[in-house]
């Protein structure tokens, strides 16, 4: 058992190192959210009025959504590194080691969750820039939520990756996936005054609950009961990681 933990640690460290060695990735992970907040937030906020009076500032409203968007996009996309490892042969080194397949998946999920978390924290620091304030006591909970969102979508991404042989096929599938999940998540618009068909779709989107929980922790407002948010986010994460591990085990 201890040997499995050590393997998980080794694999996780590798993922972190790989992330930071790809300079362009680190760079874009900081600038992309900034563009979202500055251009999208300011631009749309300038001409948008909320029908209810909970929010006065659109940039503040969209801020938790931008964090969630980045965690989500990076995590689900990171499923690709299973395929990259296969393509460059490193997967065989892990498969032939005396460790369980589950450890490989868990190591990758942990390592990539950590890098997503770093990215999330960097965006969180931008709050100062946009004059968004929240109780500092919330920070550990925010971090925990960010970790859960990352791990959940990493699980989903890896599960999807096990069905593909090539990087290209996977990326096509992910592109198909990313837009609807993001748009329906309530990251960009409030979801309490929607027509019933759209409201139903947003409730089926797991990211909705992650965005809602972050918004609760950062802005103090949420559409659902935060307890429900926590339950859905934790449930989703546990579910996808288990399914990913099973799918990976089956395929290899």
């Amino acid at each position: 058992m201890i040997s499995e933990f050590r393997a998980v640690y080794g694999i996780a460290i590798r993922e972190v190192k790989r992330f930071f060695r790809a300079r362009s990735r680190v760079f874009s992970s900081i600038f992309m959210p900034l563009f979202w907040l500055v251009i999208f937030g300011t631009g749309l906020g300038a001409s948008m009025k909320f029908s209810n009076s909970t929010f006065t500032n659109y940039t503040a409203f969209v801020f938790p959504g931008v964090i969630a968007l980045n965690l989500f996009m990076r995590s689900i996309g990171a499923g690709v590194n299973i395929l990259v490892d296969k393509q460059y042969g490193f997967m065989k080194e892990m498969l032939v080691a005396p460790i369980s397949r589950v450890s490989i998946v868990v190591g990758k999920v942990l390592g990539n969750s950590f890098t997503s978390l770093i990215q999330g924290c960097l965006i969180l620091m931008l709050a100062i820039l946009f004059d968004i304030s929240f109780p500092l006591i919330n920070i550990p909970f925010i971090i925990f939520t960010m970790l859960l969102i990352s791990a959940g979508f990493l699980g989903l991404g890896m599960m999807i990756a096990t069905f593909f042989e090539s990087v290209q096929g996977f990326q096509l599938m992910i592109n198909l996936f990313v837009m609807p999940v993001f748009m329906l998540s309530g990251a960009l618009f409030p979801i309490d005054n929607l027509p019933s068909w759209l409201s139903l779709l947003t409730k089926l989107d797991p990211l909705t609950y992650g965005v809602d929980l972050l918004r609760y922790l950062i802005l103090g407002v949420s559409f659902f009961n935060p307890v429900l948010d926590v339950l859905v986010v934790v449930g989703f994460t546990v579910f996808t990681v288990i399914i990913a591990a099973l799918a990976f085990n089956r395929r290899n």
């Binding site: 640690y9 694999i11 790989r18 790809a22 042969g89 080194e93 892990m94 080691a97 005396p98």
Partner: protein, 322 residues
């Protein structure tokens, strides 16, 4: 005692029989070579022995553990170097090695000294902190061999260890393999389609073709069994020499004579000729190569040179790409 016991191993993918009932044993400290053309079933066999593929039928025991029942024990007792590179090129040599130590749960207290040892063994100590993407093909191979040794395996699998490497690098890799046998008494199973590689390295050779082992013995035994020595004589009067010697032929004024064990028969042949007054100008003995053995067993060359050239380019690209 045999480190590896393979009994009637079969593996088919749908209707294709990749491995069709092979059996062999490898003794402690031996270098055993599976020799055969591309597609003969070498890599499939090695993958089964390394528990990456499940056999369709037959028994395979590695270091006393059954590959089906005890795959985790098998994995921790073997080291393996794959035909295709399996390093993380973004990491440094050291990082690749320490990751391997973690995957195989090498005792923490020994990890650092073992990493230094294996790097020393393959002469990469000075490249310790360089990212592997900056390595040449030969350096990558050496690092992979080093990596395969960190967890002190009882047996090392090398799948085409010198495929795609230039001749100079190949002979260096051969040196390292022989050093492993001499200094570490390592049991090694290697696959190759290079005759000279098998001749130079292997104590025992299993020649494999179409999923079957068609010959299994030491290299010298295989060659001696073949009536393949050719004595080539340059004489003043080849016409009469051919008449004197049975089974000889005249090629462009030179006498070719096929015999078994030419070294022992040479004196006899020479005295026979000189008694009849034939003057001998020069004598040449051509020993059969493993290629001749393969040729006589299957009626075909182990590889045609043209395909091999393409292979070489392809594999160079594989090793130097990305």
């Amino acid at each position: 005692m045999s480190v590896i016991i393979v009994k009637d191993l079969k593996k088919h993918f749908k209707s294709v029989k990749a491995v069709d009932g092979i059996s062999f044993n490898i003794g402690e400290g031996q270098i055993f070579g599976l020799l055969g053309p591309n597609g003969a079933g070498k890599t499939t066999s090695i993958k089964i022995l390394a528990t990456l593929l499940k056999p369709s039928s037959g028994n395979v025991t590695v270091c006393g553990y059954d590959v089906n029942l005890n795959s985790s024990k098998v994995r921790s007792s073997i080291g393996i170097v794959f035909q295709e590179p399996s390093l993380d090129v973004e990491l440094t040599a050291f990082e690749n090695l320490i990751l391997h130590a973690r995957l195989y749960n090498v005792p923490r207290s020994e990890t650092m000294s073992r990493i230094s040892d294996v790097l020393e063994l393959v002469d990469l100590s000075d490249k310790r902190n360089i990212q592997v993407k900056n390595f040449s093909g030969g350096m990558k191979r050496r690092l992979e061999i080093a990596r395969g040794l960190i967890h002190h395996p009882r047996v090392l699998f090398l799948d085409e260890p010198t495929l795609g490497l230039d001749p100079q690098t190949r002979s260096k890799i051969w040196d390292y393999i022989l050093k492993l046998k001499k200094e570490k008494k390592m049991t090694i199973l290697l696959t190759t389609h290079y005759m000279e590689e098998a001749e130079l390295l292997c104590d025992m050779v299993g020649i494999i073709d179409n999923g079957k082992i068609i010959a299994l013995d030491s290299v010298s035994k295989l060659k001696n069994d073949l009536k393949g020595d050719v004595i080539i004589l340059d004489v003043d009067d080849s016409e009469s020499a051919v008449k004197i010697l049975k089974n000889s032929k005249n090629f462009d004024g030179r006498v070719h004579l096929s015999v078994r064990n030419a070294d022992k028969k040479l004196a006899q042949i020479l005295s026979k000729l000189s008694k009849k007054g034939v003057i001998i100008k020069s004598v040449n003995i051509k020993k059969p190569s493993l290629n001749d053995v393969f040729l006589s067993l299957t009626g075909k060359q182990i590889r045609d040179e043209k395909a091999n050239d393409n292979d070489w380019v392809k594999n160079r690209m594989r090793w130097h790409g990305h």
